[in-house]
């Protein structure tokens, strides 16, 4: 199929979808292509921290200031994607108080509202904290739901005429002198081939930036840093808990809906597709985060996951944590003479909007026009809706009281009707997209039971045409990546149960690799 557009955006993370919305509000037509589902990369594989900028107040004042400014804007335009939890930067005896004082000064400079709390005040706010803490600094951190944020940007962009192609991979770049004429692409599920011509192209592929640029024979200096996170099966803290010291491994605990997310590590990674969580990382995270909240030692973990941070290197080498978390907007016209190609990479989830604004400004400049950005003024479509958790609880209470069919996912209380409605409404190409968009399989058993039920429901709806056992095995293999690193205690019992069901009762055996293998599941923060 031949398509033509003004701006072609490659990459369906927060940045790409944010650009799509920004352009659409300026009245500039665009198509976005994404080789997986939305938020398959770092946008969906992070701890869901809604930064105040505090984490960079000392090490990277520029990034800290950017974070805080965007923090204020997102509270206005996307309140339904954010839980305003506040955050505490706690000082343990081994940390001393020197860093805390630098931190307070840094916050002041970056205009991050910071309040010093005594040990007792902090413990009153967060009873699970290590009682040995010296003090805590309160900042406006929060928790953000990246997937909803992206879907909301998508909804607004679509309302304003933007187009999206999921599960579609760029296969080649068509160069024409000093311009890129367009790309060829392929639908990875149905196999359809596309040829898309565009006046401008934006490479918003995050960690995949160089893979895309390679098609044009270009390269930028990036460091890929793997960050690993763990999810507990209960929410241990109400506020984001940070260690008040220079950013390092295992220094943050983010509350997220009903769980807490423990993060992170920082390890160089060469491969953006295949990376695993090691047991050393898991042990390190538990050891470090339990210094802040001792109950973590006894908590049940439900999953481990990792994401790749795309960090842009502007010359410096060495410690990845020292590389700026600020973003890089690269005009390939200035850099290599390719007139209509832009790369946007680096940055933080919380600065996605600013990155989109700056990228769109550059597009406008290249087009010779001067249309102003509107994204900081206009709330996202669902902004006046109640928060997600309340919404969900209401839905659950309805599904229990009324005759709305059985509960398929016992851990997360997802009813059959919710799934059926979802399947009817959306034109999903892939089962994983459904799992990505609901809380199905996100709970304690990680889909061990409900995946079979979901496939059963698909058969009842005559939608289960593919070989369900291949899909089932693919799902279990993907699930395995998340649970293998954390199998002890109660989790190992669950593992024995699930293995006994699928290999035992159902006699599923290893066969050829399934089509689902080797692809990211995404949606880390849930």
């Amino acid at each position: 199929m031949k398509l033509q557009t003004e701006v072609l955006i490659i990459g369906g993370g927060a940045t790409g979808v944010g650009i799509s919305r920004d352009l659409s509000l300026r009245g500039i037509p665009s198509i976005l292509i994404e080789k997986g589902d939305f938020a398959s990369g770092a946008s969906g594989r992070n701890h869901g921290l809604f930064h105040s900028g505090g984490r960079y107040a000392v090490s990277d004042p520029g990034a800290a200031q950017e974070c805080m400014a965007e923090n204020r804007i997102l509270r206005r335009i996307a309140p339904h994607c954010i839980e305003e939890t506040e955050g505490l930067f706690i000082s343990l005896p081994e940390d001393g108080l020197d860093f805390r004082d630098q931190f307070l000064r840094g916050c002041e400079e970056a205009e991050i509202p910071a309040t010093l709390c005594s040990r007792d005040e902090a413990l009153a706010l967060e009873p699970e904290l290590n009682p040995a803490i010296l003090s805590a600094v309160k900042v406006p951190d929060g928790a953000i739901d990246p997937f909803t944020l992206i879907l909301e940007n998508l909804r607004d962009a679509e309302n304003h005429g933007a187009k999206f192609l999921l599960h579609t991979e760029t296969t080649s770049l068509i160069l024409n002198g000093d311009r890129v004429r367009g790309i060829t692409a392929k639908d990875l599920i149905h196999g359809e081939a596309y040829s898309i011509d565009a006046s401008y192209l934006i490479n918003a592929t995050g960690a995949w930036a160089n893979q895309f640029l390679k098609l044009a024979g270009l390269h930028i200096d990036m460091a890929l840093s793997k960050g690993t996170m763990l999810i507990t099966n209960q929410r241990l803290n109400q506020r984001v808990i940070n260690r008040c010291r220079r950013p390092s491994d295992g220094d943050i605990i983010v509350p997220n809906d009903t769980v807490s997310i423990l993060g992170t590590t920082s390890l160089r990674s060469e491969d953006v597709e295949n990376f695993e969580v090691t047991s050393t990382e898991v042990s390190l995270l538990i050891k470090e985060t339990s210094k802040m909240i001792p109950a973590i030692k006894e908590a049940r973990l439900i999953r481990a996951y990792a994401g790749i941070r795309p960090l842009f290197q502007s010359g410096e080498k060495g410690n990845d944590r020292a590389i700026s978390r600020g973003f890089a907007l690269i005009d390939h016209e200035k850099r290599e003479g390719l007139k209509n190609l832009i790369t946007i990479t680096g940055g933080k989830l919380v600065t996605y909007r600013l990155m989109a604004e700056k990228t769109s400004d550059l597009i406008c400049q290249k087009m010779g026009g001067n249309i102003s950005c509107l994204t900081h003024m206009r709330p996202l479509p669902g902004a006046d809706h109640p928060s997600r958790l309340i919404d969900r609880l209401r839905k659950i209470s309805q599904s229990i009281s009324a005759d709305r069919g059985e509960i398929l996912c016992d851990c997360e209380m997802i009813g059959r009707e919710e799934v059926q409605d979802f399947l009817k409404e959306s034109k999903l190409k892939d089962l994983r997209d459904l799992l990505h968009r609901t809380r199905l399989a996100k709970g304690t058993c990680q889909g061990g039971f409900c995946i079979y039920r979901l496939l059963g429901v698909l058969h009842d709806l005559k939608m289960g045409e593919v070989d369900s056992n291949t899909v089932l095995k693919g799902f279990l293999e993907e699930r395995w990546k998340g649970i293998r690193p954390i199998l002890w205690g109660t989790s190992i019992k669950e593992e024995e149960l699930i293995e006994s069901i699928y290999k035992g009762i159902f006699n599923l055996t290893p066969t050829h690799p399934s089509p689902l293998e080797g692809e990211g599941e995404g949606g880390g923060a849930g």
Binding site: E276, T278, S279, S283, I286, D403, G405, E406, I407, L408, R416, F449, Y452, R453, L455, G456, V457, H459, D460, K462, G464, D467, S468, N469, L472, K473, L476, E477, R479, W480, R484, L487, W488, G489, I492, K493, E495, E496, L497, E499, S500, I501, Y502, K503, G504, I505, F506, N507, L508, T509, P510, T511
Partner: protein
């Protein structure tokens, strides 16, 4: 209170040990938190699903299922001159599986089966079978393993099957109607038939059961004649020439044979059960039968209780404390059998670094590091090493340490907690439980001790 034998664990191995000791005229106390994996997975009695390569088996029929084909593909296709299938069956083991087991024992000297030995495995299985006289009996075929359909539309090999599953074993393309129920989320007829090339229907349940329903509730309802009649008539309406009808394994808990016959009379076709997600109703039936038999013969049952402490002294277990808050009772015996199962049962406990035995603190044979517990992929041609972890014993099932030195003199180990088996992949769970439960009790009262 003093007993001849205290059995810790009420799964299939503990029950089997209790039966064996009771038959020997011993005073037996059996203590358990629950029925172990019996009520979760034990729909049928597996003995050895993956028979050794040297085994020659004769498939009953072509199966329409890909997985099973793969399974068969892993084993040599039967040769026409197959000498074993011609022999007569003697004892509970079909000749096929006996030859398979005898090869298995040779190839795996550390395996629990090798400690029990072929002869005692047969005695144990005979003893199990004798507990289930007709009409709800267990059956096996001469070739050893039978293939039964499952809730995922696959076939699985197993050894002994209850009479309620027999009609499913010779399933042919198109000759069965598979029935599921609306509101019952652990079985999907259309999922099953998609792979078996049969017809499937999902029946609504009569009010007030037409919302969400569990396997246990459904099984109890099936025992009510009026309910059965409603279901039976509805199935009959939808029957179009099929000679058999497959239902999830929920055909009653107390009297499944009556439920099956009752349905068959209404429908006028053979009815069979298909194993589904836990809980396993057929497993609960096995538990109930053992319990009834043991109580009738004077064994003492402490169900729902767990051991808070074992008193160990001079390489012996002297007694156990059972805490049932707020009451703490102590029980004493000359001999003890530990049959507490693996992780699900609570016999083994894992922390971040190591695997422990939970009650007596016995040494657990295990991989060196947690990183080695599991393979990188879930479905792997190699089993996950952690499943081989477990307790080491001498030839009479008494616990020993890594050097082979006896740890406790009056304790015997039975069931899946034993090391050196992969019961999930081998499809040997119930066989190991029955054989070692039987053996442990026999050894505990043998002359040598």
């Amino acid at each position: 209170m003093h007993y001849d034998l205290i059995i810790i664990g009420m799964g299939l191995s503990g029950l089997m040990a209790a039966k064996t000791a009771t038959e020997m005229g011993k005073r037996v106390l059996i203590i358990g938190k629950g029925m172990g994996s019996l009520g979760l997975f034990s729909n049928t009695i597996d003995v050895l699903g993956s028979l050794p390569e040297t085994m020659k088996m004769k498939p009953h029929r072509q199966t329409p299922d890909g997985d099973t084909k793969t399974h068969w593909g892993e084993h040599p296709v039967p040769a026409p001159e197959d000498q074993f299938t011609q022999e007569q069956v003697s004892g509970p083991l079909g000749t096929g599986i006996r030859n398979g087991l005898s090869q298995w024992v040779k190839d795996h000297p550390e395996h629990p089966y090798s400690k029990v030995g072929l002869e005692r495995i047969e005695e144990a299985l005979s003893s199990f079978i004798s507990l289930f006289p007709p009409p709800y009996s267990f059956e096996a075929t001469i070739d050893g393993n039978t293939l039964i359909p499952t809730g995922a539309g696959t076939f699985r090999p197993t050894h002994l099957i209850p009479v309620t599953m027999v009609a499913g074993t010779s399933l042919k393309e198109g000759d069965a109607l598979i029935v599921g129920f609306k509101g019952f989320k652990d079985f999907y007829a259309h999922y099953v038939v998609n792979r078996l090339n049969c017809q499937g229907i999902t029946l609504p349940l009569p009010e007030p059961f037409d919302r969400e329903i569990t396997a246990t509730a459904l099984a109890r309802l099936m025992e009510k004649e009026s309910f059965r009649e409603t279901i039976g008539k509805e199935i009959k309406k939808q029957l179009h020439g099929q000679t058999r009808v497959g239902l999830p394994a929920i055909l009653g808990i107390q009297n499944p044979f009556k439920v099956k016959k009752g349905l068959e009379e209404i429908i006028n076709a053979e009815v069979f059960e298909i194993p589904i997600l836990p809980p396993s109703i057929p497993g609960i039936r096995i538990f109930n039968r053992f319990k009834e038999w043991l109580i009738e013969r004077g064994a003492t049952f402490l169900l729902g209780h767990s051991i808070s402490k074992a008193l160990l002294k001079d390489k012996k277990c002297k007694g156990v404390d059972v805490l049932n808050p707020p009451i703490l009772n102590s029980y004493f015996a000359d001999r003890y059998i530990l049959a507490t199962g693996r992780f699900i049962g609570g016999g083994l406990v894992a922390d971040e670094e190591k695997i422990f035995e939970s009650i007596l603190g016995l040494p657990v044979s295990q991989p060196k590091e947690r990183e080695e517990w599991f393979q990188k992929s879930f479905f792997n041609n190699l089993s996950h090493p952690v499943h081989q972890a477990g307790l080491l014993t001498d030839s009479s099932l008494r616990p020993v340490d890594e050097r082979g030195d006896l740890v406790l003199e009056n304790v015997w180990i039975a069931g899946s907690i034993l090391a050196h088996h992969h019961c999930i992949d081998e499809k040997s769970r119930e066989g190991i439980e029955i054989a070692t439960g039987y053996m442990a009790a026999r050894m505990a009262f043998s002359k040598q001790y």
